[in-house]
Subunit: 366 residues, 2 copies
């Protein structure tokens, strides 16, 4: 069965007989979507999923592995998602515990255009974690946000990005904001001989995303932020053709995880990577969100592990990180990681001083 | 508080004090994303959500209503989704029970270009439900799928659509399939003086979606199928500018519902409608999926109720419908509804006969 897509399901059923019935239903639901006998029987071999195993799982759960011919996943991300989680997303007694993608699928995706190594080149940060800060909140003017950019850049942060909720509100319209923020960072870079990267949020509707990327590039930006959980994965993949690095934000992506949906390590570490994220922001353990440290470790691992010909993505842990804890996280996650630090900086009276302390702490701990 | 976006949350907490703490956290998480004191205090009034009520809900749950200034929802679907469900999607103790959108938001969306009335004009079906059939499964050749189209059209079905899993697989590449299927339906229409509509699936990546729509139109198609749960809502909205009717398929959309995410009536009846679906397919009660009849009734209601200047969408109940049960469903749902009938037809020996029986049953019961 090598060369096939293998999906591990976790299904709430009473006993093995029910588990087998459910396995048969899933194998058809995700492919022919018809009961046996309603289609030419020769399709059973190639199109219908093959049940590989049915085993007891956690209490009240059965673990089912079904493999699919890569043919069924078509030639794009929406159909891959459809095969993995299309109708199954609507079946609340079925969760997905693991997904294994074969070479034939991986070969169909170019992945990140820059990747982890590319982000290191663009930021000039080697041998230590890349530090990411956020300008916020929405409601501030473009000028105020640009002033925050100056503060972050002057303090030597590696990347300063828009908050994902800052899009095109009238207080800071996209073009106006991006021009001023990029200018602020460029001015700081010149003065300090620094290479801080300003990353605007281009999450928007189709067409407008591309327009914003072009505008950002013309203003001098070399990377953009997008939330594929809000735009669809395909919109992120399209950016890999636009000669700009891409950071993926997790807003909205919790929908894929909820109710034992897709596993977080696969979603962030594999799927977002395949879909072209040079950096993948995830909600770190120890912050405001419920991912465990084990899940975060697994995301880091999958973002960086060999995966066909696809470049590694930079996993970026957001939340639970501050100057006091960076040493802990570097010990756990290694240096090939990003740290997104937001609220804890703003909670301090002097933002610039808070950023400098963090930057020093990361350098010291690396 | 009229004129504001009102979101009803259902939150798992022990007592009212914890509920109030959680309410305050949500109101900031979805807007400023900063603890109090980390931003200019004048933003508290306009940007941070206003807690309208905190009441006991179902056992172990508290019901919290927070209202937001429409400003915070920006000017597009991704930011509206972000405000409603961005970071909240990642917080598994928080569900959304209801969403109320004010005029100011509704005025920003044109909704369906054709809507329920437009679909009636295109299909020529008035005063009774619109019947939708599906050609499948994937793995059949374009020629075989076109033969199925002929069978459906000859039997007088109103709409015959691609299965949502049929995209561009080598056995039936998009252009080839759409040309043959549309031809088959047109030939049948001419012979019978019928007006069956063939609806190809254009779910794909950005750019390719638009190319497929243009191809389909050039082949004579007047409507297309897309799964916004796989492509993002923005991709569906973009189709409303392409002079083609749009049917929304629910594949992948279960991710928004799972774990008490968004409520199904809002998702299908309001959000998909705002995003431009002329017809909204949902998984009906009594089929293979867990929606209740009450939820389906609420979807029907919201798809058809007055909603600013936005046209009504045709709610299309998929699953649980066959010739024997159409009378029941018409009594429950009324005539301004579509019925998507799939598996039960294919399970019968003579597909054409099965479709004719269904068509007659719907006419008789209307």
């Amino acid at each position: 069965m090598s060369g096939r897509i293998r999906v591990h399901y976790s299904v709430r059923v009473e006993n093995q007989r029910d588990a087998r019935v459910r396995a048969d239903a899933i194998a058809r639901e995700q492919t022919v979507e018809l009961p046996r006998g309603g289609y030419p029987s020769h399709l059973d071999d190639r199109i219908v999923g093959a049940i590989e195993s049915v085993e007891p799982g956690a209490p009240g759960q059965w673990r089912i592995i079904i493999s699919y011919d890569p043919f069924t996943a078509g030639d794009d991300l929406p159909q891959l998602m459809n095969l993995l989680y299309g109708n199954v997303s609507l079946l609340t007694d079925i969760g997905i515990a693991e997904v294994e993608l074969p070479e034939q699928i991986l070969d169909g995706y170019a992945g990140p255009a820059f990747g982890l190594d590319g982000l290191r080149k663009i930021t000039g940060v080697y041998d230590q974690p890349i530090i990411v800060g956020t300008i916020k909140p929405m409601g501030l003017s473009s000028k105020d946000l640009a002033a925050l950019c100056s503060t972050f850049a002057d303090a030597g942060i590696d990347i300063v990005k828009d908050d994902h909720g800052i899009t095109n509100q009238p207080t800071a319209p996209f073009d106006d904001r991006v021009r001023l923020c990029q200018q602020a960072v460029a001015t700081s870079n010149e003065r300090r001989q620094g290479s801080t990267l300003y990353v605007p949020n281009v999450t928007a509707e189709p067409g407008e995303i591309e327009r914003r990327v072009e505008y950002a590039k013309s203003a001098g930006c070399r990377a953009v932020l997008i939330a594929p959980g809000l735009t669809g994965l395909g919109a992120m993949k399209a950016l890999t053709q636009m000669d700009v690095a891409v950071l993926a934000h997790p807003a909205g992506s919790g929908s894929f995880l909820r109710g034992s949906g897709l596993p977080a390590p696969f979603l962030y570490g594999t799927l977002f990577r395949i879909a072209g994220a040079d950096g993948v922001i995830y909600v770190n353990a120890g912050g405001r969100f419920p991912l465990t440290e084990e899940e975060c470790q697994a995301i880091n691992h999958r973002a960086r592990e060999p995966l066909g010909q696809i470049r590694a993505s930079l996993p970026i842990a957001g939340g639970g990180v501050d100057a006091g804890r960076v040493e802990y996280w570097i010990r756990r996650y290694g240096k090939d990681v990003g740290f997104l630090v937001g609220s804890s900086l703003y909670a301090q009276a002097d933002l610039g001083c808070a950023v400098r302390t963090l930057v020093t702490a990361v350098a010291d701990a690396s």
